[in-house]
Subunit: 432 residues, 2 copies
Amino acid sequence: MTQMEAARQGIITNEMKEVAEQERVDAEEVRRAIADGTAVIPCNKNHKGLKPCGIGSGLRTKVNANVGTSEAYADLEEELLKAKAAIEAGADAIMDLSTGGDIAAIRKAILAEIHVPLGTVPIYEVGVRARKERGSVVEFTEEELFEVIEEQAEQGVDFMTVHCGVTLEAVERLRREGRITDIVSRGGAFLTGWMLKSGRQNPLYEKFDKLLEIARKYDITLSLGDGLRPGCLADATDRAQIQELIVLGELVQEARKHGVQVMVEGPGHVPMDQIEANVKLQKRICHGAPFYVLGPLVTDVAAGYDHIAAAIGGAIAAAAGADFLCYVTPAEHLGLPTVEDVREGVIASRIAAHAADIVKGVSGARKWDLEMAKARKNLDWDSQIKLAIDPVKAARYREKRNTSDTKTCTICGNFCAMDVVAKFLGTEKINC
Amino acid sequence: MTQMEAARQGIITNEMKEVAEQERVDAEEVRRAIADGTAVIPCNKNHKGLKPCGIGSGLRTKVNANVGTSEAYADLEEELLKAKAAIEAGADAIMDLSTGGDIAAIRKAILAEIHVPLGTVPIYEVGVRARKERGSVVEFTEEELFEVIEEQAEQGVDFMTVHCGVTLEAVERLRREGRITDIVSRGGAFLTGWMLKSGRQNPLYEKFDKLLEIARKYDITLSLGDGLRPGCLADATDRAQIQELIVLGELVQEARKHGVQVMVEGPGHVPMDQIEANVKLQKRICHGAPFYVLGPLVTDVAAGYDHIAAAIGGAIAAAAGADFLCYVTPAEHLGLPTVEDVREGVIASRIAAHAADIVKGVSGARKWDLEMAKARKNLDWDSQIKLAIDPVKAARYREKRNTSDTKTCTICGNFCAMDVVAKFLGTEKINC
């Protein structure tokens, strides 16, 4: 039984219980959301040691960090370090997007070492194998595609990005639209190449039932990829993107019929004033399926600082109802991230997620800020550092610039507003 | 004549012309906005070599960077370096918030070296002198307060934060409200201390006419400070804050009557879902005066990354109509920023400002992103670097992670979506 099937039979699984405990919500509420499909718990039956994580309605907004080798940088150890750094920084899930070196071995190592849900994009491995064996990423057969999916499923992957909505019709719509950056999704591009070359329909769409069968067997959560997501602001929310979303909405219903957990991926590059509309549209078209957004980036020009452009977009998206933020690192659009970039990317996304959780009314979100506010008022530095979203960095800043015996900080020194006011409101008399 | 007086007489000054040229808008539109008070051009008649900068309706969202010594770090050279780094990173204005060392000398040096508008908070110097001479920041006379303002005006300061709305009545409202962090504005705290000690009204309110006289003489733009701004999310948009805003709205009208340019400062720490309301309220209550927001920070817990929390809030505020963003550095709440922190803070604010300008419809904003999108599509790396918001950092990332002869980047290598799609859409045949 999948989590969804269990939930529908009224069963509160151990995973649901754990999620409810983590989130301090009622387990019955979690069960109901899983049954409805408005939340998912990606947990492959073969992923040993997994700490379950819920994504969706009523739950804390989650953050995913991508790691993975490329052809130029195929160092397994470094990617493992990145995965660990991401989790240490508070990432809720990891996606392994490796395309270099022994991809299966890397995935195996990550699965063994990390205990958060792991996601992949199986079409990458399909394309990489095809290129190695036949010289082109699009030289693969349907059978090979499903073989790779089954292999990864068997290995224990918890959620998979599958670009099922990149149909021949959607690509034709994209052509008619006339985009600036066409297709920027690698998976979307591989499948589009395959379709245009073979003249045949996307197998992930045409044989969606086969995909559902594998997903159901291992309880893999399908993450319906947005292969036609905009790669720049000018392409955002266009007919191609929305056409794909409509197809994904149909597939959400189909997956639910089969008891398969499913979420939907979203843009991308989106101007601030279109973000809320994107979220509302996804929620309606996909009948409340969890929304997993890639950013969105609110400008195209922030290369070197795309984690900040993504934090702005991610916060707005999450406040509007998005459930899962894919992090973006400062290296986005420029190269593979370093361990430090990964860390910065995770924290930026967590700030966005938390800012949104405050206004979403997520359990405990406001309390954290209130505790920090009280620690500030009391000039209680130990608590301020402990309550910071990244205590390590906060401590580093504090130590670098302040002597440990000053109660106030070096910004204001003896001119601390908290001090002055405390004295005159009679709260406490300090050195002003 | 002040810019406002000239504008009202139908005169398009050189400053208005320059602003119109920079912004690629009609000079007559700039004149009209200055006449109405919906935009300002802070330009003290004594600030030699100033490159004028317009702030307000119809203009690009501007970014201010704070620099300044503290008692613990009173190194003039370092603050000058910060000011220069801020301008190099694209700051539109600088505020000198020095409280350590020879404050007048620091200001003089900054004024001589920088050519963007300079702002100050005169009450800091008043408090520092009082403490030095009489042992407490609140031991000053009204005369001394106005003396310092006149001295700074004479020196060439272009805009001044004056906390005129911190009245006895507003402080009483704050007391009745019962806040978590009371007053976090240093200027607001000094004045509150002065009032509670002396039992007298805020001289900047009671003798506002005297302030207007000085401002008019040098054409200083008054930046009506929000001394009662919230210092944490829980205090945001409370009665004390709005009470002060109402007073500031009255003072805006009064300033305009006297031909004095004026803008209004805003919070602070604000939950995402209250930001738009804050901006709309300020615009209505203050009859369209330019809004200068300090962040706002969308969470209290991001110490070490407050530039990101501020970028989220600043983008939302600017998109809702805020005109001027005060940067926040990663060191906020922890210590004085370094030169590198200043740089990071400025870029984060510029990303927020630009993301908002795109949706505000500011002249040229979308074009920048479109050019970047085209450069990406064409895998034109030189243009991508040049068009990045911080070309220096973008180039550093690119060089670190890529060999100069690869057309694609190391993220995707031979699996570049742009390449695959270009081939199959027939745009260009590359190595896939």
